[in-house]
Homo-oligomer: 67 residues x 6
């Protein structure tokens, strides 16, 4: 019954891609750790690039600078 | 001074219902654990059904399948 | 299928008290929001008082000062 | 490589203010703990006042009451 | 630069298994979403069975009952 | 009333350093965002290096390799 929280930047990821991530993580935890896939919960959160910082700068700023 | 984070699917839960959950959780932690309700923080996050997976499938897909 | 994360200070809370909190939160979300209790997940995390700050001071310090 | 999650109420905080918070937290963790700023991640989440409770009431309600 | 948090029950999972989960999740997010593996962060948290509830009961209790 | 969660690797950070981080973050959010320091909550979580992955490898492994 693992709980997985995935945070990514909000970049228009399609429902199909998100479903594929959920399927893949659930399968991985079943195969590697023997966890029951039926009770594995995966929550994806999409974060605005203004709200995500790395290296002391927002992703918005970094992208403008071509980083 | 507990901190409680509640994640639910985004299904149009009314402000009144959310207030009732906040009131109820705060009261429970005061009664069972003796926590000070004045400093108990409760944050509710509502997650799109495309972003919530259980059993390896998104809630969007599960609902379409009548699960 | 809600997911609830409860953070409290580590103060020797008994397994019975923790079970009572889990039961109570699950019941509350079923009654108020109509959530399925069978798939409601509650995770309690107990945090050392050195690692919990409020008002700019750790709980360890606040307790020494009788706050 | 710290990971910092900051939750605040959604009150129209400007991108500039959010960038300043990200810069400040990253600098603080470098100065106090010696953490590498290049791999420090900061995620800000803005929560509706209906979804944030303290003292058993939502921030929406508290503000109406002038608290 | 995704951030992934995985919560599992504390059951003596080996460092090798945890490394395999970290490797697998990082690879999955690179392949499905095109995320840069170099900045993908994965944090695993192991939770005591007394502190994990599902269906209103702790995992400790459920295991005693053979569930 | 912000809530801040800081995750760092478990490396024997002293209570004094942790108190300094809590003080600094609380002050920053008061100065930059005008948040009330009295209700600002900061929780620090220290994660074993076996449980922290970046670039697809655990911090334990990366340190052994001198990265």
């Amino acid at each position: 019954m693992p709980y997985v929280n995935i945070k990514i930047t909000k970049d228009g990821t399609s429902p199909e891609k998100k479903a594929e991530v959920i399927r893949g993580v659930t399968k991985l935890l079943a195969e590697v750790l023997g966890k029951n896939p039926q009770t594995t919960v995966v929550v994806i959160e999409e974060i605005e690039t203004d709200n995500w910082g790395i290296g002391g700068a927002t992703v918005t700023t970094r992208r403008k600078q071509g980083r």
